[in-house]
Every structure is written in C-alpha cells, then in structure tokens.
Symmetry: C2
Subunit: 348 residues, 2 copies
C-alpha cells in the first residue's frame, strides 16, 4: 500500500496513513543538490539532461520517507522551447531574451514539438520511473498558461505585472490567443509526461492570485480547465490531476468544478474550512506554511498534527507545504515534518 497511497489519496480512496510530498523537495536546501548543480554548471543543464534530472529527482527520496517523487524540471521549459531564450540571473530568477509584448510577437509563436523540442522531459520521466521501480509514484507537472504568460510577457519576475496586465486590459483578444496556445502546449506537454509514465500531474498557477476574481476565471482558471479536459490516460489508465493556485483560497469552489482530482492549498486558508467548501468533489493537498521548516522540530510536529486534525477523518488528504521548500531550510527539519505526517495520520 505504501507505494501508492499518494495516488489513492488523490482519488479520495482510503489509505493507511496520510501521504506526503513537498513542492520543491529536490533543490538548493540539499547539499547533494548543490554539489550536482555546481558540477553541471547551470540549472538548465540539470533540467535538460535526463540522467541529471533523474538523479536530482531521486535525491530527496533517499533521505526522507516521501510518498511521491516529482519530476525535476522548470515551469519555463515550454517558453524556452518556443525560442524565448530562457536564462537565469543570480538573485533575480528567470529571464527571457525575447519577451512577448505585442499581438505580432504572439502570432509568431507555435506549440513546441514535444519530441524534438521537449523530448528531454519524457526521457527523464522514463528514466525516473525505471529507477523508482514501482516503489514511489512519480508526479509530472507544468506551469499554468497564465503563469507562463506572465513570465513570457514581463520577460522575468515582476512586482507590478505592468506588461501582462496592460495586455490583459488593452488587448484581451491577443492575450487570450497566447493563453489558448499555452493551454494546448501544456496539455500536449503533460500528455507526453503521462505517456512516458507520469502517474499524476500538477498544474502550478503561481501567479493566478494576483488577479481579480473575474480576471482569474477568464485568464487563468478557464485555461487550466481546458488542460484538465485534454489530459489523456497513461499506460495504467487515467492519472489524477492537481490544480494549485497560490493565493487562490477564495476561488476553491470554482477550481473544484474544473474536473481536477485535487486542489493544492497555500497556508492562508484553514484546511478544514477548505474541505467544508469543496465537499467530496476533490482531494486537497496542503497546507503547512513553508516557513514552518524554520521552526524547531517539536514545533513542526505540533503544527503537522494540527493540520492533520483539522482535515480529520476523511478520505482525500495529501500533506504538502503551501509553497516550495526554501533554500535555507535544514534537511533535518524536512525529515521531522515528513515523519510527523505519517506518525500523526488519521486514517480515513
């Protein structure tokens, strides 16, 4: 049972203990990651080399009793494959050499070829599945169309979202064209991961929470719904899907109508309140404050216990943080959190 409790929980089926995985569970807080990253020379090399991506994916599983592996990759592989020139500026994050600003820029873009342009991703998935050997399920992922568009139009991280929101207000048809293209690209990308063996998929809508309710529905949610509708069965049948909108706590009812199997929650909402609102429509994933990993282990244990108690004796809980593990975290604290989830689980 332990090897597929994650998939059972995502389908709201009974499990022996609550499964747990962590967003960004492979990353800079792990010394073995930093070592490999230095050897590889760049973050993109790690993502684009299937052997290295496989190794990084497996690193946290060797340390912690995690119930899921998540493909090591970047949400910006699709715009990179579209030719935007992805690069990373230290302490600033991702940037594009060729941001998309005008309707003419958008007209030049097409759905990347999944084999020629992004084949390294399904290749990594196959390799990871072989290495995992059925012991732990593998989650694939992609960025949401709105989130990808935000980076593509801004050209990098933004505090004001000046360019994407100017496009949204002034040229909504052009933005919809871009989002439609991205929705078709993300669906093809996730289907390529599923065909290669991904056993669940998560859509990361990192920036959906910077929109008004109406604009969230029109420019983010509807495109995630299209993706969910286009997901194809994998070698072992249909795979569960997880929607995660950071800052989307107000919109859970609408998210639950998309057909996704599960919703990711950040930590600004109580999970018992979320469960009451979505009822038995979807499983819930979350929702510890990622900063909890800066707390002492006994405090971590208390807070994990509280979240499990809030969720209570119901099917469909996958424990996670409300956002990714941050670089300064002590790996021993991650171990304390993961172990506490299993120890304090309330089997459904």
């Amino acid at each position: 049972m332990s090897h597929d409790r994650l998939l059972h929980a995502l389908r709201r089926e009974p499990v022996d203990v609550t499964p747990v995985w962590l967003m960004r569970q492979a990353g800079r807080y792990l010394p073995e990651y930093r070592k490999l990253r230095e050897q590889a020379g760049s973050f993109l090399t790690l993502c684009q080399n299937p052997e290295l991506a496989c190794e990084v994916t497996l690193q946290p599983l060797r340390r912690f009793d995690l119930d899921g592996a998540i493909l090591f990759s970047d949400i910006l592989t699709i715009p990179e494959a579209m030719g935007l020139g992805l690069h990373f500026i230290p302490n600033e994050g991702p940037h594009f050499h060729h941001p998309v600003r005008t309707p003419a820029d958008i007209d030049k873009l097409g759905v990347p070829d999944m084999a020629d342009d992004l084949g390294y991703v399904p290749d990594a998935v196959k390799l990871i599945r072989r290495e995992l050997d059925g012991k732990t399920p593998l989650i694939g992922f992609a960025g949401s169309p709105w989130t990808l568009a935000t980076y593509m139009v801004e050209g990098g991280p933004s505090k004001t979202y000046q360019h994407i929101k100017a496009l949204m207000f002034n040229e909504p048809a052009a933005l919809h064209k871009l989002l439609d293209l991205l929705a078709r690209s993300v669906a093809a990308y996730l289907n390529a991961q599923i065909a290669a063996g991904a056993q669940a998929v998560q859509i990361f809508d990192t920036w959906g929470g910077v929109l008004s309710p109406a604009n969230y529905r029109a420019f983010s949610l509807v495109y995630m719904q299209q993706i969910v509708a286009r997901l194809e069965p994998g070698p072992d049948g249909r795979v569960p899907s997880i929607l995660f909108t950071k800052g989307g706590g107000a919109w859970l009812e609408a998210m639950a109508e998309t057909g996704a199997s599960a919703l990711g929650l950040d930590w600004t909402i109580d999970i018992d309140n979320a469960r009451e609102r979505v009822g038995d429509k979807v499983a819930l994933q979350g929702n510890a404050d990622p900063a909890l990993l800066y707390a002492k282990p006994d405090i971590i244990r208390t807070q994990v216990h509280e979240i499990l108690t809030r969720f209570g004796h119901h099917p469909g809980h996958v424990f996670n943080l409300g956002h990714g593990v941050t670089p300064q975290v002590d790996p021993a604290h991650v171990a304390a959190l993961v172990d506490a989830v299993h120890e304090f689980s309330i089997p459904a």
Copy 2:
C-alpha cells in the same frame, strides 16, 4: 460638501458623489515628485523635512480632483526612530543596519519619543493642514505592528520571511513583546498625527496576508485592534480609522470587529461580496487593480464604472486602488480614473 465627502463616507454617511484618493498618490510617477526627490538628495530627507513632506503631499492635489490628501511619509519612521538605522538600497527597497533578531535585541527597544524622535511628522501634519485650508481632508497613517516587525526582523524586504517566522514559531513570547511595543508606539504615533490635525488614519498591514488565518489573528489583527482602541479624539472629535491588510480578503469579518471605521480592500475580492459579508459594520475602501492604471483611459473608465456598480446604492464607499500607484504610471491615466469615479458615482 466636496471638502469632506471622504470623512462622511468613512463614517457611512450620505455623500454627493463617491470620494476617491489613491494609495501612494504622491510618488515617483509624478515628474514634479522626481524633481523634488532629486533636489532633496534622498527619500528620507523628503519624509523628515516638514516643508518638503508638505510639498510632496500637495503635488497630486494640484493635478487631480482628489477627495483626500495623505501625509507623505514612510511606514518605517518608527523603527528608524528606535535606532535601527533605516536606509534604502536602489532597486531593493528599505533595509536596516541593525535588524532585530533575538529576545535580547527586542529587550533593548522602547517606544520612541513622539516629540524628540518623530516630531517632524506632526510638524508636517500641521503644515499640510494649514496649506490645505479646509479644502481637502488629510489622512495620517502608520504601518501595522506585524508589518513593521517583518521589516525590523528581516532587516529588509524578504520573499521567505525566514527570520520573522522562525521567531514567530520558536519564540512567540518574544515576538508578542515586540508587537506589543510596536502597537503602543503606533498608537502614540497616530495620536500625535491626530493631535496635529490628521482627520482620518489608515493602518497599512502590507504583510498580514503572508500569515495563516490563526497567525494573522494572533500576530497582526489583535495588535491593530489595540491601536484602534487607543486612538484619541482630535481637535474636531473622533477621527475615522481604516484597516488595510493586503491579501486579507478572507478575514474581513474579523477585521470588521476591531472597531475600525473602514476596511481597505485589495483587488482580489469583489467589493459587492465584501459588502455583503461586512454588512453595515464598516465602510469599504477600494478596490481597483493598481495595474488598471496601465490600461487605456476608456478601459479605466469601464472598470471604475463596474466597481461603483458592484458597490451600488449604499453608504460607505471610498474609491481607491487595492495597493499603491506604481512608478511607471502615466499621470493622465490617474486623472481619467479620478474623474470617472466622480462621473459614475451612485450617490447613497
């Protein structure tokens, strides 16, 4: 009526047209501000020199038909007065030379002397009131204790809130001591502004939205409530108070119980939904997306009309953005927004 429609609306009294002011209405998007800022040499000089702070406060009123002036200052004047060594790093924002990290650091701090350490603020208030000459009401403001503590403990802007949240989880009693000190300091500071003539006050809780619901109540809301309870009447009687928690849309009911006159809304919640939830307890201020100012004027007008229509025929609406005006905005767009508020108002 036009000179005090803002104060009437904050008290949920009838007004002729919906009043409007904008967070950060004085600032870098105005060429006359950038000129004065360059002449002054530093942002802090502008804040700490009452004549310059007065001039900057008045600049947007000369251009736009605004119904309120807001004291030009910085939310970090209190920690600066506590001796933390405030300075600004270009493109990075505010930093402190002496961050507060330990219980021992906290024990060294005291409530600043409002006359000796912060007298330039009430001096600016008096000067602005004299210049405004009763034509436009003046809003004073302060940062919330949680928001001030975040900057003081992190030492500058943060994406992970590592230090303040470690303190919150591991040493809650020490953090409560700091927040209590800040609540007493903010109350004294706002009372000094009120005594000098501020006709309304706003508490800016910029970072309350990064907390879980329970931690928001325990570490941010309760201290804002203490401040509201400590506000003293000014020369003309009690002044209305506005609480603004960015990302606080889920907690409006609790915020409405604090005794504040009005709640500031960001743009991630529909104002009709907010009004239904708080009923007749408080006025509401908001809530256009600040990025709307990047839109073409006819789009700005449409969106203003929609927000006014959503609020509808009720007392107690002050139009504002959901956060501050950003530096790249065209002042002509601000004029379009302000004029549209008055044009499309639905008198209550």
